[in-house]
């Protein structure tokens, strides 16, 4: 395979506790630590391993987002990707719009494999990979915890509610990653220096000629109903008593 495309989304770091704006117009993201969506980082690690095994020649990153997403692309390049494309937009895209953009990139780049996270930890949608596969009319293997490539076929183990499902798909295909696929490498300082020379191509989203206008109307954001703190019991007798009071273990 010549090329793997890895999609990276810039998101609020998973360690940050998010808060809703008092006027309900959004969540506060100003000044927060931003990172590569953890699932996408796993997708990138997998692509790099495939290239290191000699089964692909090039790993190309694609991000759709603001100018600042170049930071996450730089991190991805430092991890080992060869080049990057930023489709620039300040708007929040719905997953279908993101999939349409990616479909254009796929036409241009003709990858053998597109790897991306199963969901982004900001909107938690879990849609983009499946939608891209539909628009591209190619196979999808979602929630991958194991990926083996053999020529033009990928064997993918998927984490499903019932256990593990194994699918075989012909390439090109879209694979979305689950957490247990691998553990991403750490970036080393010399790699960060080297990555500075790697190219990031910037495309204005308008230049792709796809419909990315939002369809859904967001009405408001709010904090979830909080569970209140309960009681601390001192010993097992009290615990069992409290459970009996609530009608359990009777």
């Amino acid at each position: 395979m010549q090329k793997i495309i890895v999609c990276l989304k810039r998101v609020v770091d998973y360690n940050v506790r998010i808060r809703v704006k008092p006027d309900g117009s959004g969540v506060i993201t100003e000044g927060l630590k931003m990172s590569i969506n953890p699932f996408d980082e796993i997708a990138l690690e997998e692509a790099l391993r495939i290239r290191e095994q000699g089964k692909a020649q090039e790993v190309v990153l694609v991000s759709i987002g603001p100018d600042d997403a170049q930071q996450q692309l730089r991190t991805g390049l430092a991890m080992g990707a060869d080049r990057a494309i930023l489709v620039q937009t300040s708007a929040e895209l719905e997953p279908l719009a993101a999939a349409r953009v990616l479909r254009q990139i796929v036409s241009r780049e003709q990858p053998g494999l597109v790897l991306l996270g199963k969901q982004a930890i900001d909107d938690d949608c879990n849609q983009t990979g499946q939608m891209l596969a539909a628009l591209w009319n190619r196979p999808q293997a979602t929630f991958a915890s194991r990926l083996e490539l053999d020529g033009t076929v990928a064997t993918v183990t998927r984490e499903v509610d019932a256990g593990l499902e194994v699918l075989e798909v012909d390439l090109p295909a879209v694979v979305t990653t689950d957490l247990r696929l691998n553990e991403p490498r750490y970036v080393k300082l010399p790699d960060i220096m080297k990555a500075k020379k790697k190219p990031i191509e910037i495309l204005a989203i308008e230049s792709l000629g796809v419909d990315v206008a939002p369809v859904l109307r967001v009405i408001r954001y709010e904090a979830p109903a909080a569970r209140s703190r309960g009681v601390m019991v001192k010993n097992v007798d009290e615990l069992v008593g409290a459970l009996h009071d609530r009608g359990f273990l009777a």
């Binding site: 596969a133 190619r138 012909d170 109307r217 009681v231 097992v236 615990l239």
Partner: protein
């Protein structure tokens, strides 16, 4: 008047309870027609189960070759064809629905809502974002088909007692040649299913090993409980992936959830916030799980579980 199509989830023998939860969600929309479609090899048994669900006006069956394999690339074109006559297409927010429905939505050229947790109005819904740290209210404009997955834990399963008509429809398509099902490996157990169990006992990294999990299995058996785990316990290989509870595992709503040796990371808590009563046992009194537990006990799980067992009749 609006018409709802619900994609039923099943394993060929049993209708998954997530479907009854979708039906409950759809009832809140108060549609004129609410139909469940069962795609499968032999759909007779499962269709009969779907027909009993309260509020369902018809059950459609699409019986085709190899339809029993729930592959999205195979099912999505069939569901997209059927979707023509409906204003809403719903599926459970399980790995089945999450895999399938976005592919359907893209074929239809409409956006999808993930994890609907409440119905505010016929076209207005709430869903969680940021691992449940925020809730967003979204409206689907008139004239756009509503395609949504339903967060099961937010809806009580629809009741039974109905006898909706079952009819076969023709939407079957040939399986795509580019995708082949190889196998499903499931850790079969006799324990109650995690997603439907009334009681759940759950273990985290603090349990320490696969061998130590035997203590939780034994305790769960005494209680008739299902068994869950944190991601750390799954990653460490103590238990299989299908036991993971949380943002990226199963979202559950048992009446009682007992967490042993689980610290209470936000990604874990998002999977249990609809539980009736949460009990936490952790040797660290500062563990965040105590902030949301209804009953907390600081101590060593290896001493506490046997002590509780002694007090069970």
């Amino acid at each position: 008047m609006s018409r709802v199509l619900i994609v039923g989830e099943h394993d060929g023998r049993t209708l998954n309870q997530s479907t009854a939860r979708c039906v409950a969600c759809a009832s809140a929309i108060a549609p004129a027609a609410m139909e469940v479609v069962i795609l499968g090899g032999d759909t007779t048994t499962v269709a009969a189960q779907a027909a009993t669900l309260a509020g369902v006006t018809a059950v459609l069956t699409v019986t085709g070759n190899d339809n029993g394999r729930a592959m999205a690339a195979f099912l999505a074109p069939q569901v997209a064809t059927l979707a023509d006559g409906y204003d809403y297409v719903l599926a459970p927010s399980t790995t089945f629905g999450k895999d399938l429905l976005p592919r359907v939505a893209a074929l239809l050229g409409v956006p999808q809502l993930s994890d609907v947790m409440s119905v505010i109005g016929p076209r207005t819904f709430q869903r969680p974002i940021y691992a449940g740290n925020a809730i967003v209210t979204v409206e689907v404009p008139a004239g756009t088909k509503v395609v949504a997955t339903v967060r099961g834990a937010s809806f009580k399963p629809a009741g039974g007692g109905n006898a909706a008509p079952v009819r076969a429809v023709d939407a079957s398509a040939p399986p795509p040649e580019h995708t082949r099902f190889i196998e499903l490996r499931s850790g079969k157990s006799d324990r109650p299913d995690l997603q439907t169990a009334r009681l759940v006992v759950s273990g985290g990294r603090g349990v320490g090993s696969a061998e130590n999990f035997a203590l939780l299995y034994r305790f769960a058996e005494r209680l008739g409980a299902g068994v869950g785990a944190s991601r750390a316990a799954v990653d460490a290989g103590f238990v299989p992936n299908d036991m993971q509870v949380g943002q990226t595992g199963k979202i559950i709503a048992p009446e009682l959830y007992m967490a042993f040796g689980i610290s209470g990371a936000i990604q874990h808590l998002t999977g249990i916030k609809d539980a009736g009563t949460i009990v936490a046992v952790n040797k660290d009194g500062e563990a965040p799980i105590f902030e949301i537990a209804d009953i907390g006990l600081v101590g060593d799980l290896f001493e506490i579980i046997p002590e509780i067992e002694k007090r069970l009749r």
